[in-house]
């Protein structure tokens, strides 16, 4: 059985399913039980599972992260949610010094820390410098953390359930522009394995490795190139940013010899860079042209509608880059036209201001 639902409904469904299956799953965060329910993702949970298991919290991100860690050491599986990743920067101490290190620093003798931390990455409508930081590369640098980043509704549900029941701390990233993505999602306890990428498109010309919302832009570009120019690309959606599914990536790069990596974060020290580096090391002999990465310029997110225009990359930029890698000329005007004038919203459903 499956059901058509949005990404946020899928998250909601995963949370409800997890709480149903296991009474040790609890769910908290600023605004979790409020009428908006964190973009709909937590609606109805408190009514269903009670105030003990679903609750709001004080504005104390670091303390509440340590509290999740402590609870998890006694068998609870806390799911903590932050409306923006940026707010979670207050909790890096507990995340790194405790959660990431815990299993190792006691030689495995003090239990696991099965916490899941949902972080929403903002974009558009002037989110600006402190409501849109995409720091997945930080989290993926730290041993002991898993980092999950679904693109589709189905993946959101399957990966969130696996994250909750995984015994390591998991950072679960939701891009705000994906919340309205709609798809058939299996009902019930549907899980997808962590650490596996998904091949969204298949082709021999270029390996496009992507993540999160950038995979949506990539699909537009790749489908256009296939339809109009008979250019065929592999599109690998990472889904898991730590661990990364290296074999899938290497296989593709060895096949195409051309690597393009898309990232939702800043360029320098990006996950895209890590992928370029490992491919340069592992697939040295297969590379037909210099690898390319497309990420954000190394500069904080500006707020003005006019300033974000040149900050983010779109399908047409991806198309252009692929054309350049293949040393061919392509008319990308129609692809450019596909997007309306407001580059700072993903579609009409997104109305700001938050």
């Amino acid at each position: 059985m499956s059901c058509n639902m949005t990404f946020s409904q899928a998250v909601n469904d995963a949370l409800a399913t997890a709480m149903q299956i296991d009474e040790n799953v609890i769910c908290y965060g600023l605004g979790i039980p409020d009428p908006k329910g964190v973009f709909g993702t937590s609606l109805g949970l408190q009514e269903k599972f009670g105030h003990d298991r679903v609750f709001d919290m004080p504005c104390s991100e670091n303390g509440m992260t340590g509290i999740a860690i402590g609870a998890s050491l006694n068998g609870i599986r806390p799911v903590m949610t932050h409306q923006r990743l940026d707010f979670f920067l207050l909790a890096i101490d507990q995340l790194i010094n405790n959660a990431a290190n815990w299993k190792y620093m006691f030689g495995g003798n003090s239990g696991n820390v099965p916490i899941t931390i949902r972080l929403i990455i903002g974009r558009g409508w002037g989110q600006g410098p402190t409501h849109s930081q995409s720091l997945h590369s930080w989290f993926a640098h730290v041993p002991g953390l898993k980092v999950v980043s679904p693109t589709t509704a189905r993946d959101a549900k399957g990966l969130l359930l696996s994250s909750i029941f995984d015994d390591d701390p998991v950072i679960f990233l939701e891009h705000r522009w994906l919340h309205n993505h709609t798809e058939e999602v299996p009902e019930g306890d549907f899980r997808l394995p962590l650490g596996k990428a998904s091949l969204l498109r298949r082709g021999n010309d270029v390996s496009v490795i992507s993540m999160s919302y950038m995979s949506v832009e990539a699909i537009h570009a790749i489908d256009y190139l296939q339809d109009k120019c008979n250019i065929n690309c592999d599109l690998i959606d990472l889904r898991s940013i730590n661990p990364i599914d290296w074999e899938t990536i290497f296989d593709s790069v060895r096949k195409t010899g051309r690597l393009l990596v898309l990232d939702t974060g800043w360029e320098t020290l990006s996950v895209a860079g890590e992928i370029v580096a490992r491919c340069a090391i592992e697939c040295f002999d297969s590379m037909k042209c210099p690898p390319v990465r497309m990420a954000l310029p190394d500069c904080p997110t500006p707020t003005s509608w006019a300033l974000t225009k040149n900050y983010y990359k779109e399908a047409v930029d991806i198309g252009q880059t692929i054309a350049k890698m293949l040393k061919i000329e392509i008319n990308l005007e129609p692809l450019k036209q596909m997007r309306g004038t407001n580059h700072d919203v993903p579609g009409d459903w997104f109305k700001g201001p938050f």
């Binding site: 600023l30 605004g31 409020d34 009428p35 908006k36 609750f55 709001d56 919290m57 004080p58 504005c59 104390s60 991100e61 670091n62 303390g63 940026d86 707010f87 207050l90 409508w125 002037g126 989110q127 600006g128 410098p129 402190t130 409501h131 800043w266 360029e267 320098t268 310029p297 190394d298 500069c299 500006p302 707020t303 003005s304 509608w305 006019a306 300033l307 225009k309 040149n310 900050y311 700072d344 700001g352 201001p353 938050f354």
Partner: protein, 312 residues
């Protein structure tokens, strides 16, 4: 107060039309008394830092109206050149050092300004605006401790509007513990007051300012008040269920501006006609600010001098 109220209401009225204010915007309608009073009690060379809900603090301190509206429009002529939006206001010419969007984020910054004042041995003071939820962040506690430890010239003004977004105080702080008494426990003199009474607010702030300027160290003021519109955005939101219509109406009855108007009319400080003129003049200034903002140029991402200085 009038300027703040009319400005917020003009933003609300225009926010949906044309969709030109494309940034998260937190209005302070209903909370005008404290920002206005603080602006009066502070000197222009005193420092102020503030939060996501900063329009009132900025205007109260004398910040440039045109530059604020232009900033919300994302224009080059905005006080932050379009980089910041509603949540990142600055006007250093009047001591408004900055407002930011991370809850409690500017609290230590304000204390640091206090430290710099002490080091430079001037008689300025540094005023930190914060909301009730900001007192839940550890950094608030750390900042107060240091201000008390070093007897810094810092005035903390907490506008307790009962909510953090849609979350009432009772899910965040123990019900039988007031913020004021908690701060007293930290060793900082703390007083509370009616934040919808402009005159009371002014007097309490002035007294605190005087004490701080005399070198007696930090003071914390907690003012009870209420935000009328939704947490973020231009609309009303009583219908969504996190607060009751009755609560809202009761607070609306305590409109700080109407109360102040009645009082100064009664005391014959001003007459009805003068008030009407004042209102019309204020609204005209605001309308003009919107017109200017609308006409102003957008900034260009590529012509920033600092870009690529770092990570170059």
């Amino acid at each position: 107060m009038l300027l703040i109220r009319f400005c917020e209401e003009s933003i609300a009225a225009r926010y949906h039309t044309g969709k030109k204010m494309r940034c998260p915007t937190h209005l302070c309608t209903g909370q005008e008394a404290v920002p206005a009073a603080a602006g009066q009690a502070l000197r222009s060379d005193d420092f102020v830092v503030s939060t996501h809900r900063a329009h009132g603090h900025y205007l109260g301190k004398g910040g440039d109206l045109n530059k604020m509206i232009a900033e919300i429009y994302g224009k080059k002529s905005g006080c932050s050149g379009g980089w910041g939006g509603s949540m990142h206001l600055v006007d250093r010419s009047v001591g408004f050092i900055g407002s930011t969007a991370i809850v409690a984020g500017t609290i230590p910054v304000g204390v640091g300004l206090g430290l710099s004042i002490k080091l430079k041995n001037t008689d300025q003071i540094s005023c930190v605006f914060l909301g009730d939820a900001a007192t839940e962040e550890g950094v608030f506690y750390e900042s107060v401790n240091f201000a008390v430890l070093k007897k810094l010239p810092v005035l903390f003004i907490c506008e307790n509007n009962l909510y953090s977004v849609y979350s009432p105080l009772k899910v965040r702080q123990p019900e039988d513990r007031s913020i004021t008494s908690m701060v007293q426990g930290l060793g900082c003199p703390a007083i509370n007051g009616n934040g919808n009474d402009a005159i009371e607010s002014y007097e309490k702030i002035l007294k605190a300012v005087t004490s701080i300027r005399n070198g007696n160290g930090p003071v914390f003021l907690e003012f009870a008040t209420y935000r009328w519109r939704e947490h973020c955005g231009p609309d009303f939101d009583n219908h969504i269920g996190y607060r009751t219509e009755e609560e809202f109406e009761a607070w609306k009855m305590k409109d700080p501006i109407e109360a102040f108007e009645q009082k100064i009319l009664l005391d014959n400080i001003i007459d009805k006609r003068m008030i009407e003129e004042l209102k019309a003049g204020t609204q005209a200034k605001i309308d003009n600010a919107f017109k200017l903002a609308d006409l102003a140029e957008f900034p260009d991402f590529c012509d920033q001098t600092w870009f690529s200085e770092v990570n170059g």
